[in-house]
Amino acid sequence: MNGADASHIDPDGWSGEAAAYVLGALPPDERAEFERHMGSCDMCRDAVAAMQRTTDALASAATPLAAPGTLRERVISSVYANARAQRADGPGGLLRRLALAPHRWRSALASAAVASGLTAVLVLALATGSNSSRVRVIRVPVTTTPRASAVLRVSGGHAELEVLGMPQSAPNRVYEVWIKRGGALLPTNALFTVTDRGSATVAVPGDVRGAMAVLVTSEPRGGSPAPTRTPVIVAPLS
């Protein structure tokens, strides 16, 4: 549809369509039709490209707000955990596939999380069958809150903790992750807070191989070198 297509003569024909397209206002069937049309129409492609820049600028018209630092903690720790899992897992491994379907992964865990005080340990079998891609899923209660639960996913020496329904940390306090090795509780640099819905995903720093448990306590902001409170989560590894 190059050149003098009749629809281009009407300014609200394809160019009106292009405006609705860049604003994300076309219903799916019209959107698909317009994308097909653009494949063969330079004029519409150019119009969309020009309008797209204007539309992109609209994003900055929102009242400027600062994103909370706790959000950074959650996002970046999950990104590191995912990167480590991908490295440990290799191509085609389970974690990699789960990473591509986070909602299914989470809902499967949530539905597995029945309200009992018992620790559940699941070992997920893998399509690849290699030992390196084994993921141990350890579900434990949160001692202070019966409706809350925590899930520790362990793959090789890497572990990631996900909490659901956890209470907000008190003002000026954060949750701190600890690794129990022998009789000692070792601090980690994993400090976290939870969303309004009580969820968080935290990478457990370091190698957990040979460790006895992963624990969480509530500590003053900035963390503590030794726990000052009773653990709210104890996830046994051995």
Partner: protein, 204 residues
């Protein structure tokens, strides 16, 4: 912006990474370098969060949207195509789509309600780099340009872009033909484009 807690998985070369362009950083993330992604996050998260709050009307939901969007960006980083737009466009497009999905799943009664607790926390500019200053200046121009559009044009643009409504839904809401709505979108975007590219036209 609140100071981040301790750096999880920090990287010694963080300072040198901060000198790189967005596109170079994305290329580094292909090698599974999360430190490069941290820099991208820090550069764009305030804009992403502001957009999410604008669309969702609630900070808590906006936080979830931004978190999911950045994790999705990390997982799908290999699909970034620079010929289709800048990294910022890619990020804000992803955030917008997720925010629109989130408000569509929410009950209609909650729509548009803004959580007052958030609004006092304006951007405080911890690092006033030239780039950041230029971005804020651009943002101010865009807001002014939007304010100067005829109401009938700014309304359809805002309902579509920030409200996630289709032209059919907007036509039904305003009781007007779909063609009129599309025409207003076209005229409004054209006017915005002219005004943004000629800031002198913006009234003080």
């Amino acid at each position: 912006m609140p100071k981040p807690l301790r750096f999880v998985g920090g990287d010694d070369s963080a300072e040198s990474l901060r000198l790189l362009a967005d596109e170079e950083l994305v290329a580094l993330t292909y090698q599974s370098k999360p430190a490069a992604f941290e820099v991208i996050y820090d550069r764009h998260v305030d804009a992403a969060f502001s957009l999410a709050v604008r669309i969702c009307g609630q900070r808590a939901l906006a936080e979830d949207v931004v978190q999911e969007a950045f994790l999705s960006l990390w997982r799908t980083r290999a699909r970034y195509d620079r010929t289709r737009g800048s990294v910022r466009t890619w990020i804000l497009g992803t955030v917008r789509n997720r925010a629109i999905d989130a408000i569509r799943q929410r009950s209609v009664g909650d729509r548009g309600r803004v959580d007052d607790a958030g609004l006092e926390e304006r951007l405080v500019a911890p690092e006033r780099t030239d780039l950041e200053f230029a971005r804020r200046e651009d943002a101010r121009l865009v807001r002014q340009a939007l304010d100067q559009l005829p109401d009938e044009q700014s309304r359809v643009i805002e309902l579509a872009y920030f409200g996630g409504l289709t032209h059919v839904q907007i036509a039904s809401m305003l009781d007007m033909p779909v063609g009129t709505i599309k025409g207003r979108m076209r005229l409004g975007l054209a006017k915005l484009r002219t005004t943004i590219s000629n800031p002198a036209e913006i009234a003080p």
